[in-house]
């Protein structure tokens, strides 16, 4: 049986892992290579690195981080943040990344999904969607936001998710912008609707504060994988503890 994946996320800027609430109030939490090696030994199923500075210098730093991580960490690595072209993607893949995550660039230029999938295969293309809840005629809907959640686009998140898959996305990384950084739980409804609308796996992100939250979004939200940052970074819970919790409640996980 396919197991549910538990994926620590490392937000990187200027060569350091940082954490903040909705991209403000950033705090330094460690060295990306050391942290990646630690999570690998702890039983993480994959790792995601997001370059949240997304500057040209930051990208060079990220290439170096990916190279060093891939020499000692033998699980899939996804890199995102500021990737705008297939050339940007190629650099990360050649450095040792297995997948690239694209967000704003894919919304502005959906052709990038097609081109990336054609050149590297859909399995390399993770489309990251930042969604914000809006109430329309009393019914919850979600709007796609770009530029690190700052810019609402007016695009419906469910429609965009479906389109991204048609264009060639191999996976979706779905972040609830309302929940992100608050540690009060994932947006279960958003995740369930998107997961049920597409044939590719959905990675739920944003809002993890306890193992119970991960359980809820995997079971009730029908997510295929969960991404979390602060609960792991601050060693509130270890990856191992979270997996034990999930396994005891009947969720298939790799241990």
């Amino acid at each position: 049986m396919l197991t549910k994946r538990v994926i620590p996320c490392l937000d990187v800027t200027q060569g350091r892992v940082v954490k903040g609430t909705s991209f403000s109030d950033l705090r330094d939490v460690g060295d990306p290579v050391d942290m990646a090696a630690f999570y690998y030994k702890e039983g993480a199923d994959e790792l995601v690195f997001l370059d949240i500075g997304a500057t040209p210098e930051g990208r060079d730093t990220m290439v170096d981080v990916v190279k060093r991580v891939s020499e000692q960490v033998f699980i899939p690595l996804t890199v995102g943040g500021g990737l705008r072209s297939t050339q940007d993607m190629r650099r990360m893949l050649e450095a040792g990344a297995d997948k690239t995550a694209i967000n704003t660039a894919a919304v502005l230029n959906p052709r990038l999904i097609i081109d990336g999938a054609k050149r590297f295969g859909s399995q390399c293309i993770v489309v990251a969607i930042d969604a914000k809840r809006v109430i329309s005629a009393g019914v919850p809907q979600w709007e796609v936001c770009t530029h690190g959640g700052r810019k609402p686009t007016g695009i419906d998140a469910v429609a965009w998710a479906k389109q991204a898959v048609v264009l060639g996305a191999g996976e979706l990384l779905l972040t609830s912008w309302d929940a992100d950084g608050h540690r009060t739980g994932y947006d279960i409804e958003l995740t369930r609707i998107i997961s049920g609308s597409v044939v590719v796996p959905v990675i739920a992100s944003g809002g993890a504060g306890s193992p119970e939250h991960l359980y809820q979004v995997l079971v009730d939200g029908k997510a295929d994988a969960v991404l979390a940052a602060s609960i792991f970074h601050y060693q509130v819970y270890s990856v191992r503890q979270v997996k034990d919790y999930l396994a005891e409640r009947g969720v298939p996980v790799r241990r």
Partner: protein
């Protein structure tokens, strides 16, 4: 110092760095090469793969590696094929309609069934169907990392060394003589993945 005994085939595609990193981690120094003589001169050959079948076959033919692989198989030389590298060993694949492949193993490559998410991405168990040194010190039903939409269906069921459940019970490890092929990526499968490479290299080099 380069270790000429181990060649990783570079045919302009695939996740070469990840595979090379894994072999290096085991204490070897593999040669990543697109030179047919280097490949034919090696004691152990690794054939990585990721991506689409049509592009892979095109690159193999263009680079001359298709003939090199056929020769390795006909001479019964140790060869480890990964993911799309495993799939192109068969006669053809349903991917993109129909794509002729190397045909060194009779059978075809089929699309994964309905009722499951496609691609099959993540960690899944491998049921060991035979006792083989490839599985040394790897528990039955250990998890390995998969990412694919098609799977091999060999005619000769005795080559099926491991199976994995995903909508269907599919062949996830294929062993035929000195050919070892996996649908999953050992280089992305943690310690058991590394151990599988170590087992193969131990068999090939001793």
């Amino acid at each position: 110092m380069r270790d000429d005994r181990i060649a990783i085939i570079d045919y302009g595609a695939g996740n070469l760095r990840s595979v090379a990193n894994a072999i290096t981690k085991l204490g070897y120094q593999p040669r990543v090469t697109n030179n047919p003589d280097d490949v034919l001169g090696a004691a152990a050959v690794i054939f990585p793969g990721v991506g689409a079948a049509a592009g892979t076959m095109h690159s193999l033919v263009q680079s001359g590696m298709s003939e090199v692989i056929r020769q390795l198989i006909s001479e019964g030389r140790p060869l480890f094929a990964i993911c799309i590298g495993m799939q192109v060993m068969l006669q053809g694949t349903e991917e993109g309609g129909w794509q002729e492949c190397l045909g060194v193993v009779p059978g075809i490559v089929r699309r994964l069934g309905s009722g499951v998410k496609i691609p099959h991405i993540g960690w899944n168990q491998v049921k060991q169907r035979v006792a083989h040194p490839t599985f040394n010190a790897i528990p039955d039903e250990a998890n390995f990392y998969f990412v694919h939409s098609y799977y091999v269906d060999p005619d000769d069921k005795t080559v099926i060394a491991g199976t994995t459940e995903y909508g269907v019970s599919m062949c996830s490890v294929m062993i035929k003589g000195n050919l070892v092929a996996t649908q999953f990526h050992p280089e992305k499968s943690g310690e058991y993945g590394l151990r599988m490479y170590a087992n193969f290299l131990h068999m090939a080099l001793s």
